[in-house]
Symmetry: C2
Subunit: 324 residues, 2 copies
């Protein structure tokens, strides 16, 4: 399957999701609609909706609830992006000025709250307590994970376990929820539900790891992001973890100083990038990611072959390879 | 009835609510529990739980759901306080350092999100779609209202209608929801439910208005708050609205300049306070508030006499008169 074929397969549904996202921006307070539509109209790949919809289809569901719930998931995701951008003081998002940069921190925090509550209203209307519990727990996990990440800022001794916990909370739990919701919609067996949930979790972890690799080693022209953002924010991510555990004593000492250094200069960043190349960390990190994706793919074995299964298998590779 | 008698009546339930609030702080991320318990242990009058519980009892309900849902409401309320304090840059809350002052803005925003999601988890567990819809809509209204208030900052021409909308969103909708939830728990008639909902709305509006009066004219020793906070934040509230509409042309011009002035000095504040005294605005504003409370009390006429009804009637007076 090619990306074009996958996109063709979900095109109509994605269009409906886009409509759903804008349809609910019916606040009497115009500024709320303005901020939200600024965010939604600035694009985004709608990966989570696509995973939700394909998961529902692979398990045999066809219907409109997948659209509504995709909207809910994308609202929750966007709310977290808004709050994260405020916390990180981000200036850009998806190649445009970030909402906090345009509208200010105050309004951006509140519009995040609005999107949470809007998601909540639609979830209650949908009325499925299984789905509600999945997303309530996901929202809880996501907020806890963000705090955990902050607490662990500039912690040179972060363990791989803590790193995995952080990326589970910030990314994988929502992917996992999307795929599990697909199973719930299809009234899938418990085994199918568990497998889709696990598929989403593994893809989500791999997706975040790829992002973390790109943050040091991506091609700025392809990613549209300046490298070194994580370093600036004191985040210990996969490339640094692998590097730390392989570097010489002297290199390690310097790396530690760099992580604690609040003056972020290009010299520091370049030192790290040179070391990453020296120890071939890109390859090592990508092998790491590939393992997660291989494990993820196996989870789909229990489903009969279909174009939806093919699409999910394709996408699980695509999300980690798009900018390699 | 006296305040002591009311407190005696709800004492056991309030104790259970306190336990409920702390019981759910079971995050694996210790910092989350730390921030939340800092906030809950710093007190608060638990007015919303008390209104919820008494409303359920006046309509004939006895049971544990009132405790759980009181916890949910207090989580939502606290989440909004945390976000508000970040947005207003508040240094103190309830006579102690505010959470943002102790833990920083980042963690405080995220702990607000955590409390929202914790409320959401417990609401889903409770499983009552009527209650869920009431609180989902309340959360939406509250976030919209905060944005609306920000948009209207330093707007000297704010209408009374806009002011009422703001205080409905920031305070009254949650009071209203508490009283309505009481009715839902008791499986009250539609008329009883509407009346309790309206009772809560009117009390909530009066409560916020009283707070707004105290912000200019309260006794710092009794309120524990420095006067003039609203003025600093560019909020047009009841005393200023009434003053604006009664002042001479020259006074009005000066008032307008003060509202736009970002250098907040005591001279400006004292000028306003002198004018408030000159035009006897305190009395006028209190008459305004009393009208809302009188309307509120009438809403309880349809309920048979009981100690719970007496307590609600007492509290509706108490919340507006506590520091007059």
């Amino acid at each position: 399957m090619t990306l074009n074929e996958v996109m063709e397969l979900v095109k109509d549904d994605v269009k409906k999701v886009e409509e759903e996202l804008l349809k609910n921006l019916d606040s009497e307070v115009q500024m709320v609609n303005e901020v939200a539509s600024y965010v939604f109209k600035s694009g985004g790949k709608r990966l989570r909706p696509i995973f939700l919809i394909l998961s529902s289809k692979i398990a045999g569901y066809e219907g409109e609830r997948a659209i509504v719930l995709s909207g809910v998931v994308e609202y929750i995701h966007t709310a977290t992006l808004l709050h994260d951008d405020v916390i990180d003081g981000a200036k850009y998002r998806r190649g445009r000025k970030s909402a906090n940069n345009v509208f200010g921190n105050d309004i951006t925090v509140l519009c995040g709250d609005f999107l949470y509550s809007r998601a909540f209203v639609n979830l209650v209307k949908d009325g499925d307590s299984d789905v509600q519990m999945i997303l309530a727990n996901a929202a809880k996990t996501m907020s806890e994970g963000e705090v955990f990440q902050l607490v662990k800022t500039a912690n040179f001794d972060l363990t791989m376990e803590d790193y995995l916990k952080i990326i589970y909370c910030k990314t994988a739990v929502l992917f996992s929820s999307c795929c599990e919701i697909g199973a719930v919609l299809a009234k899938a067996s418990l085994e199918e539900r568990e497998n889709l949930k696990e598929f989403g979790r593994l893809v989500g972890i791999a997706f975040q790891m790829s992002d973390d690799i790109l943050d040091y080693l991506g091609d700025e022209k392809k990613t549209g992001k300046k490298p070194g953002t994580d370093l600036k924010e004191g985040k210990m991510t996969l490339p640094l973890l692998l590097l730390r555990d392989i570097a010489t004593k002297e290199e390690k000492k310097r790396l530690h100083e760099i992580i604690l250094d609040e003056n972020h200069n290009d010299e520091n960043l370049n030192y790290i990038i040179d070391l990453l190349h020296k120890y071939d960390i890109k390859q090592k990190a990508e092998d790491f990611v590939d393992n997660f994706i291989n494990d993820a793919k196996i989870k789909l074995d229990i489903f009969p072959d279909s174009k939806y299964k093919e699409a999910l298998l394709f996408l699980s590779e695509y999300v980690i390879k798009r900018d390699r």
